[in-house]
Symmetry: C2
Subunit: 168 residues, 2 copies
Amino acid sequence: MVDLNSSIDPSPLREEDLRQGIELLFYAYRDFTGEPDAILDKYDLGRAHHRVIYFVGRNPGITVTELLEILRITKQSLSRVLGHLLETDFISQRADPADRRRKQLTLSDKGKALEHELTSTQMERFARAYREAGAEAVEGFRRVLIGIVEPEDRARVRPAAIRAQNRR
Amino acid sequence: MVDLNSSIDPSPLREEDLRQGIELLFYAYRDFTGEPDAILDKYDLGRAHHRVIYFVGRNPGITVTELLEILRITKQSLSRVLGHLLETDFISQRADPADRRRKQLTLSDKGKALEHELTSTQMERFARAYREAGAEAVEGFRRVLIGIVEPEDRARVRPAAIRAQNRR
DNA sequence: GAATTAAGGTCAACCATATTGACTTAATTA
DNA sequence: TAATTAAGTCAATATGGTTGACCTTAATTC
């Protein structure tokens, strides 16, 4: 248990600062999902589709099980969303030659185009924020948010070079 | 439009770094809501109730309209959640004496206790992350996330002292 | 080779949280 | 007094999640 109200602590983690973090995360997430949501409407897709498209695009050949671990939802819930993306040819699947039970998911060209349309709004938002805050602030942002993520998932969010080492 | 692929730019905002930001926000938000969700289950409440309890606790006397602006949901959607919290005495309301159309919302003692139970798990998560990352990193975290939030809502997330000035 | 395990899929029922749209009431403001 | 504002309500609908039961196919283990 952390002492949240000490007025003696020389370098106190004040409750106010902690609540500010909570609120920043709430507002940032709210606004960061707003623009993609509007685009998704045009395609009759929802935020859940965006998440699938994003992580398949980011991890070409990812399997259903791996996707479920990232999204932390049930297979049945993923099934409707992924099924629709397969039917509408945003995503393609093929059996893993090394283990034919596994299906490797990839974005089609159509899927890549949508992924780019969706993600570029979010990347532009981050680009502005990074530019205005400066490189040092970006490093701090990373350090704090990595600390918020559960330790066992921290490796997922490392830069691509490091991620490749940890892969399978 | 930001140039995301320049290999000439001397200080490039690489796509990889921007995607890392996107993913950090996704994973951090996912994990940051996990613990409260488990507690809420015990009370037969959901994440929507948590948000209402949090922001009423944080802004005692807040009105329905102000709450809607923060949450960015519709009145009808708030109604069920808030109605239930009023029925079960987590939240109390009283008419604003200066404008009796407005209803000022506050947490009951029961509501305060639940707010604390829920929020303390999130504050502990932030306290650990802040402590491990260091004060400078925390400042960077703040600067970047404030830049992600829509400009018109940035004032909402300033420390209490500044917030009080901007109030009404 | 048979049994077990793993990956994926499916059906069904259900629930939480959100939406749009139309309408009402009460109180304040012009 | 008329218009506006704050809040509430009814109804229909959509989305994205859940639990639980069950099936097929392929790989692994005994």
